[in-house]
């Protein structure tokens, strides 16, 4: 009796209801799959029966664990080498990202370099574009015939051969990812440099400290937390990146954990794959814990962001013009030239031959000839591509709509009940998918969806599972946006309506949403853009019917149909850049806001 009444009273408040529902759903969708994947590492899978002798599908086994971790040379090849490669690449990526991004941040905030707004806007472009953009461009330029195929633009133009180490593997992967994540460093470090109270430095100057002393004793310690954050962010991102190593590593069989995960899951040994996914998750969680620990210890630093007075800019003197022009050219190379190469590559018939006579529009508007790519029609007349494009749009729109809406509701409920354990729990649960590398999340859902679980049917190959996984992956961003905008609002605005008897849905639709519409909008747009360019999350789960543009790009590239891959890539980049532009216009938010 008392029980029932309490539950009834609890449910009468909408935010309680939202929290309870979200809690249950998120536990089912994020925590239970984890258990499922742990079980999968101990299970004999159908395709493994032949290999693990004397077992039946579904039996308990420690085979995967011992083979992956404890089996000498075998483990070395399956796991330890890819692990070392991953770590090496991630470290190199961080170094490049921090070095390049930090230098740029310093140049833009602390020197009198020219064209600051331009530099700032172009610098963050590689991050807005899909991560493989630069990788494909690299291939277009530096492909070499050593691994088969035709030489790239560089060799064609200069006649110089490109060595393998430069074209494929560790070096290009690190450089490409470093450039891709450099905007992290630029934004985080630039933010601190920009907001850091110049008085702190001026005070030291008055004490007759030298510039060098100031840099070493004051400026660097202040930006250290930002550098650490960048490091952890770039490290975990590049650790879970799939597209770049897949494009630049596979030609020379250079494996990292994610590509290895993909290979094993697609191949005959899913048990290995699940185990690697689990290890990836553990590393991801570890890094996040480290990040939180670092941030909590340094809080006092990062909050010193008083009103900055006019900072005395470093005069570059004679170097000013050369540096300004040089950096502008460099950034154009990184951000714009790739797009040109995609266009060029998509128009040439015989790869590697850049003679004008070799240009043709057949890969765009051709009807498909038997001698070209198995009679595949050009992408503007290709039913496959259209279905992929339609799927991409549909998927992104549905995911964005669901994620954004759930994010608003979650933010609302979490802020309204902020000190309650349930709000904390839901907050943690919505954040949790952030810790799981996309590929591993895909693996989890793969493991869940091939067979029915209780009331949940086997969703593998359906569109629903792509939606589900997209919503889960982007929920952290959307709920963060929801929480932030609710925190800005203050409870009284809603209570003023509550006390008049305005029902809940009307309070949301007529008061809360209209007031915070721009900041809620980013909770819709961010998932939309991310979904549009997502590859590793979906690659394990798509089927021919649910193919999206990104996965098609990957497949065409695997088949070696370069022209199609480049054309599709151009399509994706176009859609993403347009969406990003629309987002800036609509919400007034831009990634490099306030730094340039």
């Amino acid at each position: 009796m008392g029980w029932l009444k309490q539950i009834k009273m609890f449910c009468r408040k909408p935010h309680n209801l939202i929290l309870a529902v979200l809690f249950l759903v998120l536990v089912i969708l994020t925590l239970l799959p984890l258990i499922s994947i742990v079980m999968d590492t101990f299970t004999v899978h159908t395709s493994e029966v032949m290999r693990i002798r004397g077992t039946h599908a579904g039996d308990f086994t420690t085979y995967h664990w011992s083979k992956v971790l404890l089996d000498g040379d075998n483990s070395l090849n399956i796991f330890y080498k890819p692990l070392l490669n991953t770590i090496g690449i991630s470290l190199a990526t961080c170094l490049i990202a921090i070095g390049f991004g930090g230098l740029m941040a310093w140049l833009v905030t602390r020197t009198n370099i020219r064209y600051k707004p331009f530099l700032s806007a172009v610098f963050v472009l590689p991050y807005v574009m899909p991560s493989w953009t630069l990788a494909l461009a690299w291939l277009n330029f530096f492909r070499n015939p050593l691994v088969g195929g035709v030489p790239g633009l560089f060799t064609v133009l200069t006649g110089l051969p490109v060595p393998n180490w430069f074209a494929y593997g560790f070096f290009p992967i690190s450089v490409v990812q470093g450039l891709h994540y450099a905007p992290f460093a630029y934004i985080l470090i630039g933010g601190i440099l920009k907001n850091m109270d110049a008085n702190l430095e001026e005070a030291a100057l008055l004490l007759k400290a030298s510039r060098r002393q100031i840099l070493m004793r004051i400026t660097l310690p202040m930006v250290k937390p930002a550098v650490l954050s960048t490091f952890l962010l770039a490290f975990s991102s590049s650790m879970s990146a799939f597209a770049v190593p897949a494009f630049l590593g596979s030609p020379v069989r250079y494996q990292v954990l994610t590509t290895q995960l993909y290979r094993t899951l697609q191949g005959l040994n899913p048990g290995y794959g699940y185990l690697m996914a689990l290890l990836l998750i553990l590393i991801g969680v570890g890094i996040m814990l480290l990040n939180q620990w670092v941030l909590s210890g340094r809080k006092s630093y990062t909050t010193i962001t008083g009103k900055s007075s006019q900072i005395a800019l470093v005069h570059l003197r004679r170097l000013r013009t050369p540096l300004s022009v040089g950096f502008s050219a460099l950034l154009l190379c990184v951000a714009v030239v790739p797009l040109i190469t995609f266009a060029v590559e998509s128009f040439i018939v015989e790869p590697g031959n850049y003679a004008w006579s070799n240009f043709s529009t057949i890969f765009w508007v051709g009807e498909g000839a038997v001698d070209v790519a198995n009679g595949e029609p050009g992408i503007l007349r290709n039913a496959h591509i259209f279905s992929g494009l339609a799927n991409s749009f549909l998927l992104s729109l549905v995911v964005a709509f669901l994620t954004g809406t759930i994010g608003i509701l979650a933010g609302y409920a979490i802020v309204r009940k902020k000190d309650h354990w349930l709000a904390h729990a839901v907050n943690q649960l919505t954040f949790f998918p952030y810790l799981i590398p996309s590929m591993a999340l895909g693996a989890i859902y793969l493991s869940m969806s091939v067979v029915p679980h209780g009331p949940i049917p086997a969703l593998y190959g359906t569109f629903a599972i792509l939606i589900l996984i997209g919503v889960i992956k982007y929920l952290p961003f959307a709920s963060k946006a929801g929480i932030n905008s609710m925190l800005q609002l203050g409870g009284e605005i809603e209570e003023a309506a509550l006390i008049m008897g305005i029902p809940w849905w009307k309070r949301m639709l007529r008061i809360i949403v209209p007031i915070q519409k721009t900041s809620f909008l980013s909770g819709y747009l961010l998932p939309y853009i991310s979904c549009m360019r997502e590859l590793s999350l979906f690659i394990l789960l798509i089927s021919p019917a649910t193919n999206v543009l990104t996965t098609m790009l990957f497949q065409y590239n695997e088949k070696g149909w370069n022209q199609y891959a480049n054309a599709i890539n151009l399509l994706i980049v176009g859609v993403v850049l347009l969406s990003n532009y629309a987002m800036n216009k609509l919400t007034g938010a831009s990634i490099d806001k306030g730094i340039g």
């Binding site: 009444k5 000190d419 605005i493 209570e495 003023a496 006390i499 008049m500 008897g501 305005i502 029902p503």
Partner: protein, 371 residues
């Protein structure tokens, strides 16, 4: 009739107790102020009555209907309590015009357009914001915003109106005007007002009863003048009145109700003639509460005191004195300018003084101090 009764209401937050065992009866049509220093639980109390916050334990009834009871598991939502709430920060809806702000509640009650407009016009005229109907809140001054908030709250005609420090953001002149306005509103709308403030002057001038809180506990609940003249403890005496009441520490000697000898810190002895309360025991440590206006300067046969400072404000003058090491404040009507260091004789009016026990601050006796 909406008589509001709180029984043993307690509100705990994680660590702290915001309100503790509060018993309070708010009469119908009263104008009650909740008064107390910052953090004493005023807002929390108000929000609990309005239903915006659930008490931890206790019972609240409005107009004979139980709206909250921890024992019976009742917790009516705010809209079923027939109350209006004026928020400290106004909480106007920034995306609606003044007119829309005022009529949103009526729209929700499905009033027809004409009636709604009539009601809004009536309110806007009453609050003198008729010209601003089409403006957005951000285009109004603080005082205008506040009047819009009042109009919005009154629109649906709640029987009880809660106001949380509504005047705290206004300048002194506007505040005076709004006080008058609120008093007029109270008369005209015939409803019960519960008003939160930490400004004792506002409480004194507006309310029919003051509810004085301290650290979540009720100190005194009485009409303003009674709190002023008969404070139940040192806190109440000290909180109400400006300048603050003089509190002189003294030790009681042996005597009768007619003449209790009180020995001050500086060795001087005063005599206290009781008119109420109980006789202090011998050697009891006391505080003598003397309102500044009850200190008489320039009397004859008074104790000598030196002038420390004179603070004339036009209508009256506050004089700070040093009476042989004991600081003392006096208020004199009109403008008087004493020279600093000058010695004047100090006497006391023959009624309105209070003795408090030093150990717990409680009221001991009332009466007159004589030199």
């Amino acid at each position: 009739m909406p008589e509001i009764i709180l029984r043993q209401v307690t509100k705990k937050f994680q660590k702290s107790i915001a309100v503790e065992n509060l018993d309070l009866t708010i009469d119908n049509r009263g104008f009650i102020t909740l008064l107390g220093p910052s953090g004493c639980g005023k807002t929390t109390t108000l929000r609990m009555i309005a239903g915006l916050e659930s008490p931890t334990t206790g019972e609240i009834s409005i107009g004979g209907r139980v709206v909250f009871s921890s024992e019976q598991g009742i917790d009516l939502p705010p809209d079923q309590r027939d109350v209006g709430f004026l928020f400290q920060n106004y909480a106007l809806w920034p995306h609606m015009t003044v007119y829309q702000n005022i009529t949103f509640g009526l729209e929700n009650m499905k009033w027809d357009k004409k009636r709604m407009k009539a009601r809004a016009d009536e309110l806007m005229a009453m609050l003198r914001i008729a010209d601003y109907g089409e403006r957005y809140p951000a285009e109004l001054s603080g005082g205008q915003q506040q009047r819009v908030a009042i109009a919005r709250t009154l629109a649906t005609g709640p029987k009880t109106l809660f106001m949380d420090e509504p005047l705290s953001n206004l300048d002194a002149k506007l505040r005076m005007e709004m006080r008058t306005e609120l008093k007029r509103l109270h008369r005209e709308t015939d409803s019960t007002f519960v008003y939160v403030t930490h400004d004792q002057l506002e409480a004194m001038t507006l309310s029919t009863k003051i509810c004085l809180l301290r650290e979540g506990k009720l100190q005194q609940y009485a009409p303003p003048l009674e709190v002023y003249n008969h404070p139940v403890n040192v806190f109440a005496a000290d909180f109400i009145g400006s300048p603050n009441i003089n509190l002189l520490t003294a030790v009681a000697g042996a005597g009768s109700a007619q003449a209790v000898p009180l020995v001050l810190n500086n060795g001087q002895t005063l005599s206290f003639q009781m008119t109420g309360g109980e006789l202090p025991s011998e050697e009891q440590m006391l505080h003598i509460g003397i309102r500044p206006e009850n200190v008489v300067l320039a009397g004859t046969g008074g104790l000598p005191a030196q002038i420390v400072a004179t603070l004339p404000s036009g209508m009256e003058t506050v004089v700070r004195l040093d009476m042989g090491g004991v600081p003392l404040t006096a208020v004199v009507f009109g403008t008087i300018d004493f020279a600093v260091g000058e010695t004047v004789p100090v006497g006391f009016k023959t009624a309105g003084h209070i003795l408090f026990a030093a150990e717990n601050g409680r009221y001991v006796a009332g009466g007159a101090v004589a030199v």
